[in-house]
Every structure is written in structure tokens, then in C-alpha cells.
Symmetry: C2
Subunit: 274 residues, 2 copies
């Protein structure tokens, strides 16, 4: 089996940074999963004693608490600051940007649209910084929305597809006199997506490695499936089914922004046994 890695894949700047921060604070705990990759979280737990809190109530005095890459809602941060805990902020700077934009645009009396998944922690965090903030995934979602103001500002979840973001903002531009479009989609996401698009067009089978909760991994899988119907989303080498490669010549590999190199290597090793 011939293997080919995408020209850009895996860990983005924000994830690398968060892991480096966490490794420097052994015996701390993260507020929510640090990144969307259970294997890497297990590694941090085993090697660096990094714990995991899922609710604020679990935080005890003198704890060192690391804020996850995706950020947390404004009020949670406020409550955390009221506790006698040391707070280490590992929020990706590219996520802090839309948080600050939403805050500023709310102060300037814009209604705000986030293009993203309402249930995703990053989006929940960004949304919490504004007043009249609405989350959409499709132009049809606007049917249910009444904006408070007639000027609209838009941000996107950092891991979304740019083409779809344009659809959303175009809908708004045709309806509103002013639409202030902030392109908060992360370049790293975009680069991984462009590389996945290119590679998936030239292989027989495509393996996308990443957390099942990871938004950017799901986007990568969607992009690959457009070009290569035999595209599989896996979390790690245990998910690899060797029958996928029967009668195939070239296998492409890419990985989401939360997927560490060691997991990718284990997948490569397993496929190479064929």
C-alpha cells in the first residue's frame, strides 16, 4: 500500500501552544477537555498528571486550572476568578479574537451572527461575550431570528469552511444595509482543508484521523468524501479496518488540528503492514 500524507495536517498553532502550556503545569487540571482528542488527554494525564474538571464546582482552593483551547463562557471565567485558584489561560489566540470582536461589536450596538455549531464549546464561549448574538449553520436558520439592531456583525467558528461562511454573509448582505464581516476562520484549518482537498482527489482511499467531537476533523472528512467516496474518519490505529484497503493502490492520510503526531504515526505503521 502506497501511503501519502497531506501537505498540511494535524496540530495547529493553538493546540501545540495549549499542550506546551499544560506540560509546564504538572498536577493541574483543565476546565473542560483541553483539546478534542481523548488519547492526547490520556497522555497528559499519565505523563503530566493533568486532571480534568467538567464543572466549576469541582475546582478547589489553590488548584491550578487551565482554560481549554476552545475557551470558556465569560460568566464561567468570572466565577473561576472568584475562586482561590490559579488560572492559566490556554485559550487559542485565534479564539480569543472572535470573543473580543463579539464584545466590541455588542458595545457598538451591532446584532451578531456566529457561523458555527451552537453546541460547540468554542461557540458557546464566543457567544457569551455579546448581547444580541445568534448562531447559524445555514441561511435558513435566519427565518427564526429577529435581530435587535439593523447593523449586523459576523464571526465564524475558527474551524468552519470558508465557502459556507460566504453563503451566510451573502444572505445577510442582500438584506441589511451594513454587514461587518470578520473572517475569523483559522488559516491553519484552511491550509489543512486545502491540502486534504488536493490529496483526496488523487488517492483511492482516504483516512482522516481526529477526535469524533472535533469540528475541524469532521469538516476534513466532509471535504475528502467529496473527492474520494472511500474516506474514513478514525480516532486512532485501533479504528483502522484493513479490509478498506483491498484492491486499493494509494491511501491518503490527513489529521485534524487536535491530532498528535504519535497517533498519526501509529496509524501509518498499521496501514504499512499491508
Amino acid at each position: 500500500m502506497k501511503l501519502k500524507l497531506a501537505s498540511s495536517y494535524g496540530f495547529c498553532f493553538g493546540v501545540k501552544r495549549a499542550i506546551t502550556i499544560a506540560e509546564n503545569y504538572t498536577s493541574s487540571a483543565t476546565m473542560g477537555p483541553l483539546i478534542h482528542n481523548q488519547d492526547e488527554i490520556n497522555r497528559l494525564k499519565d505523563n503530566f498528571k493533568i486532571g480534568l474538571y467538567t464543572t466549576l464546582e469541582e475546582v478547589k482552593d489553590n488548584d491550578t486550572v487551565i482554560i481549554r483551547t476552545h475557551g470558556i463562557p465569560k460568566d464561567d471565567l468570572k466565577l473561576l476568578k472568584q475562586k482561590d485558584a490559579k488560572i492559566i489561560n490556554a485559550t487559542c489566540p485565534f479564539v480569543t479574537t472572535p470573543q473580543q470582536i463579539v464584545k466590541k461589536m455588542s458595545q457598538e450596538k451591532y446584532s451578531i451572527v456566529i457561523f458555527g455549531d451552537a453546541t460547540h464549546p468554542e461557540v458557546k464561549g464566543v457567544k457569551s461575550y455579546g448581547d444580541d448574538v445568534h448562531t447559524v449553520l445555514e441561511p435558513e436558520d435566519f427565518d427564526k431570528i429577529n435581530f435587535k439592531y439593523d447593523r449586523i456583525a459576523t464571526v465564524a467558528q475558527t474551524t468552519k469552511k470558508k465557502e459556507k461562511y460566504l453563503e451566510i454573509v451573502n444572505f445577510l448582505i442582500l438584506k441589511y444595509k451594513e454587514v461587518r464581516v470578520f473572517n475569523t476562520i483559522c488559516d491553519a484549518t484552511f491550509e489543512n482543508q486545502a491540502a486534504a482537498r488536493e490529496l483526496s482527489a488523487e488517492v483511492d482511499v482516504m483516512v482522516v484521523i481526529g477526535g469524533k467531537e472535533s469540528s475541524n476533523t469532521k469538516q476534513l472528512h466532509d471535504i475528502c468524501a467529496e473527492n474520494c467516496p472511500d474516506s474514513y474518519l478514525i480516532e486512532n490505529h485501533a479504528d483502522v479496518d484493513l479490509t478498506w484497503f483491498k484492491n486499493k493502490n494509494i491511501c491518503g492520510i490527513t489529521a485534524g488540528a487536535s491530532t498528535p503526531d504519535w497517533i498519526i504515526q501509529e496509524v501509518v505503521d498499521k496501514i504499512q503492514t499491508i
Copy 2:
């Protein structure tokens, strides 16, 4: 010959307003042609003694000068104010809006893009209100442009097609972190365009009446030609060629925003002789 008028056509709010203003100031002169329709300008001259200045030097003390519907450049207005003349502003309020946006966005340190014809008086006027202002018609025009700032604000010539404006702003959104999109395309233009699109799809021959210099008339003709290859742009009844209607059953008629009803009626009368 069966004739059908578009559900929306002809004079827009700004043109109606400018003509009413002019009719109230007999023996005045307009700075540049009041609207893009020579026949109507002749009528105002004959019936209301409205003269026409093409340069500021022609303005004499005690003159009453009417500013044209498309507006004039900021510096021309300043020079005009220095003369001992009475200034009547007939600039369409929908043109004043992009002028004020360009002024404000320049003050806030945005580079500005006008989607429009650089040679059109409206665009020249709007452009004059800003500092780093660039005029484009196609995304390729950006190749030659170096923006002074990294935040972009955009306005459109009031008579342009919305679909093309989206192309321009989409190009910018993919490249810049913030694009502040002002939809300054006039609803009246849009309504005339939508009605022309609908009507041209159901007729054999289409007649578009308007000034040859009129941007919105040319747009109407382009839209009609997409649906109906036998679409003709004429200024008045004298341009009608009766051979166009040979072997045709239904003729659609629309008119640009500067075309008065009496010119449309003369065209209708001529075609109805068939």
C-alpha cells in the same frame, strides 16, 4: 403587436425628487446634467429655463446652481460654496449615503473599495470623500491595488447589480480579516432589474428605454439580453426600428431610472402602430 410593461420601471425616487426641485427653481442652472436623459434636460430647459454648466468657471455671482442627482466631488462643492451663488442640492439621498460612509470609514482608517465605474459622476463624487479609496468592477482589478490599511470597507454604485457586488466582497472576505460591507445598491434599481428579468423571460422582443450614458439603463439591457437576445436599448421613439418586431408576438418594455413617462409613452405609441 402585444405590449407588456415591466411591473416596475422608469423614474426612481431620486430622479423624481431632482426634477421637482429643478422645476421649483426656474432660470437656474444645473452643475452637470441633472439626470442622464437628454430629452428630459431639454424639456426642463424649454419649459423651466434650467441651464447647464459643465465647469465651475461658468458659475456667476447670484446664480442659482442645482447639484445634479449623482452628486459632485467634495472639492467642487467646496469651490462652489466659495462663490457668491445659491446652491440647491438635488443629490439623491441614496448617493449622499455612500458619500458619508466613505468619509466616516476614511476617518476610522479603513481602506475603501467602491464597486462601480470610475468614470461615472456618482462614483467620482463618492470617491472624493475618502482617503484610500479604490474603484473596481471585477475581482481581477484588485491585482493592481495596494491597500493602505488592513481593514476594508466597501460601498457600491447605487445602480450596480447585487450579484456582482457579492463577487467583489467575497473576494475581499477571503483575503482580509475585516470587511465592512455597506449595501448601497438602491432598492428602486433592484426592483426595476427584478421586473426586467421576469418580463424579458416571457417576451419575444424587449425594448429598454434610457440614456446611453445611464449606468442603470445599461444594466437593465444586460439583464434583458440574458433572457431575450432581441433586446434593444433606445433613447426615445426616434430610435425604434419597426423591423425589430417582424414575426414577433409580444414586446416587453422597461425603462431606466432617468427615463420620464412621456418618453416611454411616445415609444409605446410608436410600437402600437404595428
